[in-house]
Amino acid sequence: MTDSALLLLQAAADSTHAYGEFPVIGARAFVWITAEVHLMFAAFVLGVPMFAVVTEAIGIFGGDERYDRLSKEFTRLLLVAYSATAIWGAMLVFGLSTLYPRFWAYLTTIFAPSMWLYAALFFIESFTLYLYYYGWDRWKKGRAKLGHWTLGILLNVWGTIVMFIANAWLTYMMSPPRDITPTTDPTTIKLWHAIANATWMPINVHRVIANVVFGGAIVGAYASYRFLAARTDEERAHYDWMGYVGNFIAMSALIVLPFAGYWLGREIYQYDQSMGITMMGGFMSWLWVIQAFLIAVLFLTGNYYLWIGMGRIPGAERFRPYTKYLLIVLVLGAIVWGTPHTMIADSKELAAMGGSHHPFLGALGVMSAKNTAVNLMILTTFLSFLLYRRANTRPVVPWARTGTIIQGAMFAVAAGVVLFYGIRGYFVEAIVRIGFSVYQVLAVLSCIVFVTLIDILMTRGAQSLGAIRWGKMPPRSQYALFILAVTFTWLMGLMGFARSGIRQYWHVWQVMQDTSKYAATPALGYASKMISLCVLIFLSLVAFVFWLGGLAEKSTFVAGEGEQGARHVGH
């Protein structure tokens, strides 16, 4: 750029203080909380529209009006959630520009045009949302309905672009292009060059999927609350069903999330080996033990919900005896998945083990075992879904038996591939072993895809074994949905800490150093308290949003209740 701009920038940098201070909690905690809560709301307002559009489509093309109502019910919640997102986003920008002025100036120098675009898109997005919600009843039939649905899609497109732009800023902080050094004049950095950095796309993909998971989980929690608070059987049936749909979407997306995580982690390694090692083996290594624990909770709770749910499906009795074997696989998987490689032990135990690696169980602490465990857990969860889906139906196609056998064979092959490479991983060198995880993942993914395809074809026009008794769920299943939602949210906070923390004392990795008193990335204990606090703030606000939504809705729900309840059973 021009010399004058350069001089101006220099003058600005020299005259501003690098850091501000926030009373009581400190600058970092303020930015942490605002960023985290903003991000959670952002995930919510990105995840829920996806949910809404999908359910509306099911309503339109499947002809089931329940889905349309569900879709609208959630769009209403979005209205308030949007303002919450905007408020927290404004607080974050305010915090960054006053507490980290020099860093913020640096970012704006590079990203200013994209920030304007961001703001503009946010306007358009809000506008689309209003149109979408308030036009619901007007454009209800025929072509107009399709047009309305297109609005929903547009809403998602804007939202996704907005997220991609914001992701560019934070991935630039994490992985600025290699040719940018501390002495690079920020005005000379090309915008697109900065945006298209190494981790931008992996983060984009990871976040899109995670938002679906998150939206589904929050919807599930909402439904479970309404279920527990329901006064009539009809209401209960409706929210039982909604909780199921929410959980279904969350769990399906969760199954593919680890693969996006693999990609992101790999890009980080590729970008900077030492950053990768800091992430997996350095001061953050214990973080993954917590992550493992949370993921184990997710798998166990998600499956638990499905298995209880089988109680309300006529025909599920056929499969119920098998759930205990699935449970055994899951528990063993959770045990392997959670086995630490470096164990916490006292000196006597250490002496007996000959180090902090257990001579026998240590084998479960390495990558081969973990990959195998998690892949098997994913397969098992998928099988749970399949059984659940199949429970109510008896296929009528002539090749049903063959199809089932093929499906079974596919599971066996996938599990076999996972186990084979898992065990073989112990006998090959590290670099080959890393490649094995690809085969395991491919086996699981292709099993999921093909089995689902076969299943869809096979259950066409299948005979129902009786009406699903929606609403006939014990309360503990609903509490499980709550645990899922809290765990997802907490996990999101934890992964946010991991992603942000691996930069350590850099605002922009190896370009701009954090010289504030908060330069040291805190230990996990402190981080967990912050995460819990953020989750609490977020959930309280979400509860408030839901309560507002409930205020407006009460009168309308009762009216349609009678006929709706009757139709629920037909699913």
């Binding site: 006292d346 000196s347 006597k348 002496a351």
Partner: protein, 524 residues
């Protein structure tokens, strides 16, 4: 497991035939194993001269002579295959030889044993019949006072004390003259540490060593004394039982924390105060300083026994350790010189000259107690660093005094004004030292303030001057901990009671509710 049973069976009932009880030994395969795992110490040609050999005392076995210390055969004879197998499988405690069971497969160990035998032509001579001795079994009453007394009589009468010393700590008058057949200096065994006996520390093992002798060393076989009717087989057993009685019943277990009980009155300042008999002893192993330049591979002090008490104001630490000499001792100068010549150190270091160094002991603490209860950050365990010094007590035997100071790395010790009181006694190969200091001192910046109820990091260093140890040539330990116990405050008993009351109350409420519900249900 199975091979262990097999071995046990073999040892219980040795084969009287020269034929190997271990079939299918393949010396070609054995050679591969030997080259990979053994040659580093024992040398490619089996002469005990591998690259590591110069750093070891005792030296790795030279296989070419066919001379073995640990056998079940008569003095001067070749060992049986079982003897060799035992050394390979279980290793030789107190030396660098590890046990290879679990590290190499059974076949590999048998093959390498066969290969080792090819180094010496004696094994090839099949006319030599390797026959294990027939050993009697131990007479009963081995631990009785009488048995020990009989054993002790023969300990004196057959000359054990000449080398092993009056109390068996290897401090006998002839000890400084000892060398093995290869002219390397050799220590008379410290009979108080049976877990370091090469051939095992049980009464049976000791008895067998007395019968067979340790070939190649000054330790003779006493079998001929039985033949000469100087003593009976049973009396030899009694001797073995006496030797065994010198060591603790079980090898000491290393515990991390030395607990110092709070005692009424004042702390004992004398090492032989009877109060010490009632205080638990803790064993801490020491190893050679092989970390900092001018390394030392042959530490003479293998560990220290530590006891601690406090009276609320003063801490008394009693450290006792086995040391063959009250250094400086000119009688040992020649021996010291031989050790310095035998054990290699750093390649760049100039040749060492024996000097009359004193014995020393250092106890180290951090300057300040580490904060937090979690993972405690401590200074560098090897006497701190320039920027992060440690607080040390150093005691020397000549001049006989204790100092306190700051260690800033191994080479720098800055003396502080306040020193702990030190009182030491040397007796028959053992130092007993008591160091006392007030728990709180005025110099809080440099001197550790000892607080009750905290884990206080503590480490030990020892030098035996007569073994050539001085400066960085010493025995070191890692960080351990000292805990000053305090009387349990009453609050400790209140909260459990409260917790129990709450639990009981809740339990009763649950029961009551369940019963009310049950009654309601049955009422319907």
């Amino acid at each position: 497991m199975i091979s262990g049973l097999l071995l046990l069976a073999l040892r219980a009932a040795p084969f009287p035939s020269p034929h190997s009880p271990f079939p299918a030994q393949d010396t070609t395969k054995g050679k591969a194993v030997y080259v990979k795992w053994c040659a580093g110490c024992h040398g490619d040609g089996g002469a005990g001269d591998g690259p590591a050999a110069a750093y070891m005392l005792p030296r790795p076995r030279n296989f070419t002579g066919g001379l073995y210390k640990i056998r079940t055969t008569a003095s001067g004879q070749l060992p049986t295959d079982a003897d060799l197998a035992r050394a390979i499988d279980d290793g030789l405690p107190g030396s660098a030889m590890p046990g290879w069971r679990g590290r190499l497969s059974n076949a590999e160990r048998r093959n390498v044993m066969a290969y080792i035998k090819t180094f010496s032509s004696f094994f090839a001579d099949t006319s030599q019949h390797v026959v294990p001795l027939k050993f009697s079994s131990a007479p009963s009453g081995g631990t009785s006072a009488n048995a020990v007394k009989v054993g002790r009589e023969f300990y004196d009468s057959i000359g054990c004390r000449k080398c092993h010393g009056d109390q068996g700590r290897g401090d006998g008058a002839s000890a400084p003259t000892l060398k093995d057949d290869a002219d390397f200096p050799i220590f008379a065994a410290d009979l108080h540490q049976n877990w370091r006996f090469r051939g095992g520390g049980s009464v049976e093992d000791i008895y067998r060593r007395l019968r067979t002798g340790l070939d190649g060393t000054p330790m003779p076989s006493f079998a001929d004394l039985i033949d000469q009717k100087f003593l009976t087989d049973e009396e030899l057993w009694r001797l073995a039982q006496y030797v065994r009685s010198l060591s603790p019943p079980a090898p000491p277990e290393v515990r991390d924390v030395v607990h110092a009980p709070q005692i009424p009155g004042t702390v004992p300042v004398s090492p032989d105060d009877s109060a010490w008999a009632r205080v638990t002893r803790y064993w801490f192993p020491l190893v050679g300083q092989v970390i900092h330049q001018s390394r030392w591979f042959a530490p003479a002090v293998s560990g220290v026994w530590v006891q601690a008490v406090h009276d609320g104001k003063t801490l008394a630490l009693r450290v006792s350790w086995d040391d063959r000499t009250e250094s400086p001792d000119t009688a040992w100068l020649k021996f010291e010189q031989r050790i310095l010549e035998t054990v290699a150190g750093d390649d760049s270091a100039p040749p060492l000259k024996a000097e009359p160094w004193p014995d020393e002991l250092a106890i180290q603490f951090p300057r300040r107690l580490p904060e937090g209860s979690g993972e405690m950050e401590r200074p560098y365990f090897l006497m701190g660093a320039a920027t992060d010094p440690v607080y040390q007590w150093r005691w020397t035997s000549r001049p006989r005094r204790a100092l306190a100071g700051l260690g800033r790395g191994i080479e720098r010790f800055d003396t502080l004004a306040g020193a702990p009181a030190g009182e030491a006694i040397y007796e028959h190969g053992e130092w007993r030292l008591v160091l006392t200091r007030a728990l709180a001192t005025p110099d809080t910046a440099n001197e550790v303030q000892l607080e009750a109820g905290r884990a206080i990091p503590m480490a030990f260093f020892a030098w035996d001057g007569s073994s050539g140890e001085h400066g960085s040539r010493m025995a070191v330990s890692t960080w351990y901990f000292l805990a000053l116990d305090r009387a349990t405050p009453p609050g400790v008993f209140i909260s459990p009671v409260v917790a129990m009351l709450v639990t009981l109350g809740l339990g009763l409420v649950v029961v009551r509710r369940a019963q009310r519900r049950g009654a309601a249900r049955s009422g319907v």
